[in-house]
Amino acid sequence: MVSNSEVVKVSQLLAQAAELMLIGMSSVLLFLLLLIAAMKLLKTLFPYFPDQPQRPTASAIPSRAMIAAVTAAVHQHHHAVTKEQSHD
């Protein structure tokens, strides 16, 4: 059996949890809405120009992950092609 005092305690906790739920969820959404506003601002401040030089960075960053992924992709494609050709 659940005692009276425990019922009180649990219902207090539940009230707190409900409050947390409301405030927490609103805060998350509010925060993200503000971030959306900030991003719209960024887009205005730093527009994309089609002819802007490609990132010297990214393309210049020869990350192992990327090279590995691209290598794998090329390989797979290549195998696929090879297989298809062998059907002819």
Partner: protein
């Protein structure tokens, strides 16, 4: 004969308790899931192995002087390991798809509903005799719904260290189960027609925008929610190093050997919390049940929010992408893509789902900050 008897007493067979045996079994089960089923192997291999080691009698792995004791003390007690992982994840994340379509942040926000409903649910479970979750416990459990491992470990290490093992295992397990948990919910809440919606190609994003994005996130977080800055800040540091293009040496190390090393240690330390006394309890069953609910609610909230947004948007939105808002990067985005292609084989949603997907990481880190501020 003394030595012989001593030798027998020092065997594991003689010294092992049933609880330890059971937990070693759990460890091997996690290894099986990681290796044979490819469930988040990068984490579950070290976690499973750590669980086995931690439950070996007489080996003292988790006592002062033992390896797992030191790793846990150095990296989890201090919160350093999850934060370094977050830095590495930041250095690996391309925010381009999100920047191209900032509204996607709302999906990453809606999916956090799973966290807060679960918090309420965990407290409600206290009516069951034998369960007695405090608000801090409930918050740590609820973060499983964030579908982000380091966030869950960081928050649990702060709010409920005793539950850390169960929470981390639940988080990574459900992340691995995303391809099983999410599709039925996604199909239930959408029509075939909705699932066939093709979305417009994402606009190109300038290098400057990508560079400014982590700084803007950092600034907003420190102004509004400083308690979220450990997680969000380290994430932004990793991403800033990546996008700045001036510290490629550091970025490369952060993306590879640093995150790999920390992943091994983090996993072992989490595994060390899978001891019989903490894990074999009704609380663990409660945590596992709540975690599943959290994932389901998060997925549903994301999809429903996407449906709502589709109503008011002038460009078409496929509501499936809302499911990616739970994070679980990149698994959830892939699942979205797959379910989308089942409805329309020409529909490529992967890039569109990456926006809500990385937004979900931010969203749960923000939610963790709120819980730390209000409960911690």
């Amino acid at each position: 004969m003394d030595s012989l008897q001593l030798l027998w007493q020092t065997t594991g067979i003689a010294a092992m308790s049933w609880g330890q045996l059971a937990m070693i079994g759990v460890g091997f089960l996690l290894l099986y899931l990681a290796i044979a089923k490819k469930f988040e192997p990068l984490l579950l291999v070290p976690i499973g192995f750590g669980a086995v080691l931690a439950n070996i009698p007489l080996a003292g792995f988790t006592e002062p002087g033992g390896l797992l004791y030191y790793i846990y003390a150095a990296g989890i007690d201090t919160g350093v390991f999850p934060l370094l992982i977050f830095m590495g994840v930041g250095a690996l994340t391309d925010f381009g798809p999100l920047i191209a379509n900032p509204k996607m942040l709302l999906l990453g926000g809606a999916a956090q509903m799973g966290i807060f409903v679960t918090l309420f649910g965990a407290i409600a479970l206290n009516v069951i005799p034998g369960l007695d979750f405090s608000l801090a416990d409930a918050s740590a459990i609820a973060i499983i719904g964030g579908a982000d491992g380091p966030t869950a470990i960081f928050l649990a290490s702060r709010l409920a260290p005793d539950l850390l093992g169960a929470i981390a295992v639940a988080a990574y397990s459900y992340m691995a189960l995303v391809p099983i948990i999410q599709p039925p919910i996604m199909r239930l809440l959408t029509t075939e027609q909705e699932r066939q919606v093709k979305m417009e190609q994402l606009r190109p994003v300038s290098r400057r925008e990508k560079l400014m994005f982590p700084l803007a996130v950092l600034l907003l977080t420190l102004l509004l929610l400083p308690s979220a800055t450990p997680l969000v800040g380290m994430f932004c540091l990793g991403n800033l190093m990546r996008e700045s293009g001036v510290v490629e040496r550091l970025t490369k190390t952060t993306q590879n050997d640093l995150i790999n090393t920390v992943t091994i240690f983090l996993g072992l330390a989490v595994g060390s919390k899978l001891s019989a006394e903490h894990f074999l309890s009704y609380e663990t069953l409660g945590i596992l049940a709540l975690g599943a609910i959290a994932f389901a609610i998060g997925t549903a909230s994301g999809v429903l929010m996407a449906k709502l947004m589709a109503k008011f948007s002038h460009s078409p939105i496929n509501p499936l992408i809302g499911a990616a808002g739970v994070s679980a990067v990149p698994m959830a985005a892939r699942v979205v893509n797959k379910v989308g292609q089942q409805a329309n084989p020409q529909n490529y949603l992967l890039m569109h789902a990456m926006g809500p997907n990385v937004a979900g990481v931010l969203g749960s880190a923000v939610a963790a900050g709120i819980l730390l501020a209000l409960v911690g």
